[in-house]
Symmetry: C2
Subunit: 337 residues, 2 copies
């Protein structure tokens, strides 16, 4: 294992410290926790958005803290849920009195800890709503999940619900927008290589030189099938088909396409894969109305990518286009302007 | 070799096509070349900025085409300079009559082809100035270079000169700003793994499981030393010392720090390395006034990073802070706001 780290057991703390230093003035630490909040939180009159989960998926979640998106992010150890205490501390630090929406990826540990945190926060006078993200169509139940897993679609939930909060929606309305996104977003991923959890020191699984894993999870957990390596066009078809089977987007309807890198894949390959996905959507007559390509919801240094399709409607499009200013995502108005 | 590609000989064309599709409305193709221009080029009354070079360093250069930065980018084959023809076509397509600044990384092939292109463009009535970027302190001459190599500092030249052009400076003044940045910026990199040129199919060099290459170039060309793997703090010291030996930044002076990933290194490690660099600068009393962390000037899927230090002055800081809106870099005002 070669990584740009010091003590393998202290990677998250040191990485967050570097992040806070590099983005000082935009984000700040919550007390003495590893949680990160908007430097201007709590924002008066605004519902707060809080997300979090195991580390190793950067820039998710701390990179999305800022105007128009999250108010706080609570990182756990690598691929391990944060405990309830820092979640509660973060919720208290960002609540303006209008309540806090928890955006939780559907993994058993996260679900339990965020539930407990919600109960504890309510005892402290913070009103909490929670939304579960489960966009991964690859598997139903898995090693860490009852039901589908939450993966790259989480970014879209955070962006769009964040815009709803920013325009002044109340907690129930922001939660409703978030649930609408969850109901209309699906993802599936592929791994070309494994990743290595720093304190484990060995790859989390083995892939032969000529194998890829279709339906990979963002912790390297198994997907649908391990198959011989294929070209980008075939991989795009394998990822897109199950998504569109589940999502039912009709010809002439509009989608947002997110091609997301798993961390170790260069941007040039992600753009190439985007082209493959776009050609398949063209064939079906589905309109790509918005797009995003980059390493946003990662699995350490894994090579691979995921495809996410969000079935747009006019309100979701408007909220996607709203300004956002975070370390890892800045939108500058609609596609095409 | 596992990559998200189709034909290894057609990677650049397919990647650019996907990029143009994903960023349609912001960028457009120059004729039937692989070159990319601002969709609104030529911008009347503005000096145009053009850069380019071998592909494999994405998002450099095409990702930096947009308001406040480049007007055009001309990609060559992977790690190979573009020929003069598309450079001339791109220059003609973005010239508003106020001239075009070529920003060229100091590699023999690029220098020759951009020189020829400048001569040809002048024959077509386009006034051209050229600036060579040679920020890499690792080696003096190398496999592909007479003098120092141009690496991640190129991004800072493009951003700052781009802001000067945007405010209306004439060609000579924009070139002068670019040369000021070149004179005040230094970089050095490290590789933890090699990279594989698609049409070659095998890694460009071998690194043992416990080895790293200090002073690596962005094409995998050799650096200063191959040494046993070290932790991030020690690597930061090895990269920073030669930079500060060359740059002469005094205690109390202000710098911009860019920690740049080589493509296969996750953002969390780059933030951790940024923390290591920041601690060393703190010890010397050098003030980190601006910072940028991410995968910006890459070498395909290489794991590793580079550190770039720009010795700021008030004008450079103001130009750095000016708005920029490109696919890969959006600045939102100064650090700390």
């Amino acid at each position: 294992m070669k990584k740009l780290i010091n003590d393998p057991h202290n990677v998250v703390a040191e990485s967050i410290a570097g992040f806070l230093r590099a983005e000082s003035g935009r984000v700040a630490r919550v007390g003495d926790t590893l949680a990160v909040r908007r430097v201007d939180a709590p924002v008066q009159g605004k519902v707060a958005l809080l997300s979090g989960g195991g580390s190793g998926h950067e820039p998710l979640h701390a990179g999305f803290v800022g105007r128009g998106m999250l108010d706080a992010a609570v990182p756990g150890p690598v691929f391990t849920s944060p405990t309830p205490d820092p979640i509660v501390a973060a919720a208290q630090s960002v609540d303006s009195g209008r309540g806090v929406l928890f955006i939780v990826k559907n993994y058993t540990g996260d679900v339990l800890n965020f539930e407990t945190a919600a109960e504890l926060a309510e005892l402290e006078g913070v009103t909490v709503e929670s939304v579960l993200v489960d966009d991964d169509v690859a598997v139903r139940d898995s090693l860490y999940t009852a039901g589908r897993r939450g993966v790259a679609g989480t970014l879209l939930v955070e962006k769009i619900a964040g815009a709803a909060a920013e325009r002044g929606d109340d907690l129930e309305a922001v939660a409703s927008v978030a649930r609408t996104v969850v109901s209309r977003v699906r993802s599936m991923g592929v791994a070309l290589s494994a990743c290595t959890v720093p304190h484990a020191g060995v790859p989390s699984f083995d892939l032969a030189d000529d194998e890829i894993e279709i339906g990979i999870g963002i912790h390297g957990e198994p997907g649908r099938a391990r198959i011989p390596a294929e070209d980008a066009d075939h991989i795009a078809a394998r990822l897109l088909a199950p998504i569109l089977e589940d999502l039912e987007v009709a010809k002439g309807e509009r989608v947002l396409v997110l091609v997301n890198g798993m961390g170790g894949t260069p941007l040039s390959e992600l753009h190439l894969l985007f082209g493959s996905v776009a050609a398949l959507l063209d064939e079906r007559g589905i309109i790509i109305d918005r797009s995003l390509v980059g390493n946003y919801v990662t699995a350490l240094e894994m090579q691979g990518a995921s495809v996410t399709i969000l079935h747009l409607d006019p309100e979701l499009t408007e909220l996607w286009d709203a300004p956002v200013d975070t370390p890892a995502l800045v939108r500058r108005g609609p596609h095409g302007e």
